[in-house]
Symmetry: D2
Subunit: 352 residues, 4 copies
């Protein structure tokens, strides 16, 4: 169960960063969807390493191959298998952690839990897995074409966008390498990440995601609330430490008389502190949420740590790593959001 997401639109995945391939199975995509495979590849390209000076310099083509479930350009309703070959692994970049636990990585917990561990590139705990999610998300997006999902970098370290998302021009997001929806702030973020990178250090950040043009009625009461499923998905991303939607943590400081969203006559609301969801069910207003990423744990600096025998050792990351995970995480968040929305879209049809 731990390698699957979704109920009716379900992705099951496999793969380590240094094995022959990663990939997965998409189960439940309805038949007859025109699948634009080049769109899927474009989405992968948005995530792939080596795309700019502020991301890892690792180069991998991340070419997806579809193996089943598509016939003459359309989904057939059967499961869609796919794989992405690993082509540019430098396993010897990882000889340093064969027997050493990198701080704030999953080396120690995997070793303790499983007693055996593929140390190369973090093995299954590598964020390489997220390429699989991009594929699932790019298929999901084509299933729920009318729903518009847009994510962007809203903060890097202490630098943040200080406007509500309604005042931003989303068309600018892909025009800068940090994927910030404000061109001026984007420059500051890029400068900051470049500086951090020079220090061999890393920095955290947040991403905001806005989902628009949503039918009323997606989501289910109690334990399958729409925002809880979104939260669960986002908290599955490597390095994520927090999730909030609508008014979020700020809402916890407010009074009800300020927080309540009053209705217009057509059922829309004058404000949207609720974030588009009431009782776990979409109300047709925009859904928006924010995700917090800790700084990448791999530093190009010396750090004290231990080996598997408990000896003190000193280590330094030698792989090719991101100084800030946020720019490449933008399409990942969109992909997960798309899979969650597709799942609830199908579920709502079942009950209708």
């Amino acid at each position: 169960m731990s390698n699957s997401i979704g109920n009716l639109f379900k992705l099951s995945t496999f793969g380590e960063s240094h094995g022959p391939a990663i990939g997965g199975v998409i189960d439940g995509c309805p038949a007859g969807i025109d699948l634009d495979l080049s769109y899927v590849q474009n989405e992968l390209d948005r995530r792939k390493p080596g795309q700019s000076k502020i991301t890892t310099q690792r180069k991998e083509p991340d070419q997806v191959e579809f193996l089943s479930g598509i016939f003459e350009g359309k989904t057939t309703g059967t499961s869609i298998g796919f794989q992405i070959k690993n082509t540019n692994q430098k396993s010897k970049d990882y000889t340093h952690n064969v027997d050493v636990y990198r701080p704030s990585h999953a080396d120690y917990t995997y070793d303790q839990k499983y007693g055996v561990r593929d140390h190369r590139g973090g093995g299954r705990s590598s964020a390489r897995e997220t390429a699989n999610w991009i594929v699932g998300g790019a298929v999901a997006k084509q299933l729920i074409k009318d729903i518009k999902i847009t994510a962007f970098t809203s903060s890097v370290g202490e630098i943040f966008i200080d406007k509500p998302y309604q005042e931003l021009d989303f068309s600018t997001i892909e025009q800068n390498i940090v994927r910030c929806a404000d061109p001026v702030i984007a420059e500051k973020m890029i400068e900051h990440i470049s500086e951090i990178k020079k220090q061999g250090d890393t920095v955290g950040g947040t991403i905001t995601c806005v989902i628009q043009n949503i039918p009323v009625g997606l989501g289910e009461p109690i334990f399958n609330k729409l925002h809880a499923a979104l939260g669960q998905a986002m908290l599955s991303i490597n390095a994520v430490k927090g999730f909030e939607y609508g008014s979020g943590f700020c809402g916890a400081k407010m009074k009800g008389s300020d927080h309540n969203d009053l209705f217009n006559q057509d059922g829309t609301t004058k404000t949207n502190l609720s974030g588009g969801i009431q009782g776990g069910i979409s109300n047709g207003m925009d859904i928006y949420f924010r995700v917090a990423f800790k700084p990448v744990a791999t530093l190009i600096q010396k750090q004290d740590t231990i080996d598997s025998k408990g000896n003190n050792v000193e280590m330094q990351g030698r792989g090719r790593h991101d100084p800030c995970v946020v720019p490449r995480a933008v399409p990942i968040i969109e992909a997960l959001a798309a899979m969650v929305m597709a799942d609830f879209y199908l579920l709502a049809r079942a009950r209708s």
Copy 2:
């Protein structure tokens, strides 16, 4: 699927606030656990309405009846059915919303999704459901006795505890009616809630939960990460708008060199910004997280709203409501955390 939580330790629930009863089925509790039923009742009493001047004045005994799965004081390994009768419903308190949508409640979304709605007390969307969770959690706590779960109010509106949890005395939590772990701050919170209540208004807040004495190795990679399951559970609680664990949203502002938790020789870490989880798997350090609650939507004030035909109407809450949900939510968070931990505890046994 929407009324169940957990995989191996699974609770399925039913019930509206104004029907004959609420209740549920606990599936997967191992056999041979000595169940202290009075402990379950005590946990329910921590949640029940009418317990103090800052909670709703509704009085309900919330007496749980176990119907199966227990024989001579022990669990039998079969499913545990239970119910809590509804005894003090004042359905006529809800004549005002038969056909009116309360702002920032689930009335509108339920009506749009289902076309039919039990308006009384919010029906299935009522927080009364959380009494069921208390029962599930109180059974779970007895299954994982060694794991210690403690939640407390960490902020109400703008008033917050400004110390790390390690400096707090958890034994003070149940000594004040707001369930704050700092007696001085508790007084301020109580005063603030009392003031808000007088205004017929409501206020939000946050709860912090600390889980201690956890075996290393609970949690699973990718889509069943321990913190993602905790997040999903917490986001299921009515009025919750955010979840963060470890460094949370603050961590997003930090540099990696400040954020990494360096190891001691025994595998523990010198700091714990990770919040006790690496790669989705517990590392044996304390797990801690924080949950944000919006202010209660029901105000004892006049509000503009609409009815189901889209007419503008004015309404005022007449039920007996909480000015701040946080004090009563403390045991709810513990209960959900206990069910999640019990689920992963059983899962880890399966794989061991």
Copy 3:
């Protein structure tokens, strides 16, 4: 997971035959279904003990109480909780098996698995549980009104109906106490069961179920085939030893040129050895299957057995038991079939 059936239409149950009540939660029934509660009760009456001279003489009213999910006669889309109180338990009928393992009962396996056991009336392994299924099935039948599900006794011991079901008059089924679709054979069956009962013995039998007026396209490839789900459901019934559909075990003796169902121009088939399903998916023809029941294990005769210490002991059933389970199992099979069909009906809507 072991106490739930279904994915989108899901029943979770609890209850021992000698506890305060049995019951369950129906999750996933769409909103707006007019529920005829007296119909549910009638279905329960078809299963209840004491209804004729060839069933157990135990008398229980088996009165179902609905606790949630229904408002003003319609389903609300939320979970439907229900219970059936146990009113006529004679626990002292079961003092004989406190520490003794009844042959071919589940006493031994429950004791070995769980280490603790509610011996009274078989505890959770009692067929009393099937009353819960009747409730789930009676709700499901009202969801899929157009699909007609008819089960009947097709054999008792060596006595069997020797006509294809198409030649039977289903309206005769409820006119005889053995629920056989052939009045002449029914008399022989009744006579045989009466004879067996006098001997303190029991006898097995088979039930045939026919599902008619099914839309094309229910069922899913690979591991969620319609007939596999029906088989899994039927094999969940106490005492069932076999399941076959369409040509079944006879089909295994045939040649392809005799077995293939040739098409009419409208897509129907001239024969129906397939049993209405191809590749796991309904083809619109009648689905029919047959279920084998072993003879009831409780004899009103002396039997040698052992106690939990491995001592040889002699025992004799003293409870009030059925000499043949088949007549009362007819509505149980219909109920399970209805829940399976409802589940696939909703699933097909999701994908459509």
Copy 4:
């Protein structure tokens, strides 16, 4: 959900017979299992086409490639991805059914359900999928090494083994091409299949499976009974029409006094009509069951059928097909049984 089997040991699959590859993801195999990959390949070779004169003459190497989850010969506890490339598809063998519905195949139901269909080799409905199951089963067998699973052909058409399995020498099974556990009967079966093949016809048969050396206590009450899970798995195999375990359909003719299995003092039973399972839970005795296969639907004879417009057409199978599916289905049944047993083995550990 339709492409997955199992809860804790879970296989999810993809693939059409004429796409680039088939494959799957095994989720939940514990870490530290020494995986003999040549054993997996040997199991595949038992199923592969072209192995004898009584199977299809199609030749495919069916070479499995493992893509993840294994490190230095051991499972790592993470998901195991694998693929089997399709190398010998002759898609032009299937031009005859582009728009024609083969009788008693899934062409019609797939077309009606999905509106789009990969006609080549039956697409997803092809028994080629079962190669994936062999892989899953061969991994499962290595997880539950002590449990011995043996299947064999017990009948072909009207020819059957007339001895109880205890009198058979299982070591003879792989010594004849029909995989019958009785060498004399085997010869008759082979002769019969050869004759049928000459006629361009096909014939059905049954397979018996015996599971030995099983711990007491596998299986769960109510809806996750061990035999119901086995039945569900077996009914997922293409062409299967029936499943019975223990006394099966014969048991339905018996009296309780003949059917009950009396205990020995050590908890074993003198007879085993129960088939090793009581109340859904293994009792430590052999589990045995029988599976009925209809004759293969593809005939090398002219047949009348229709095309998708409802026109009458005549067709004749031109692919390379099995005259009897049973010999190659023997390892498939073992593989499914192994996955089911592995799943319950892990589940029992969770609850222990």
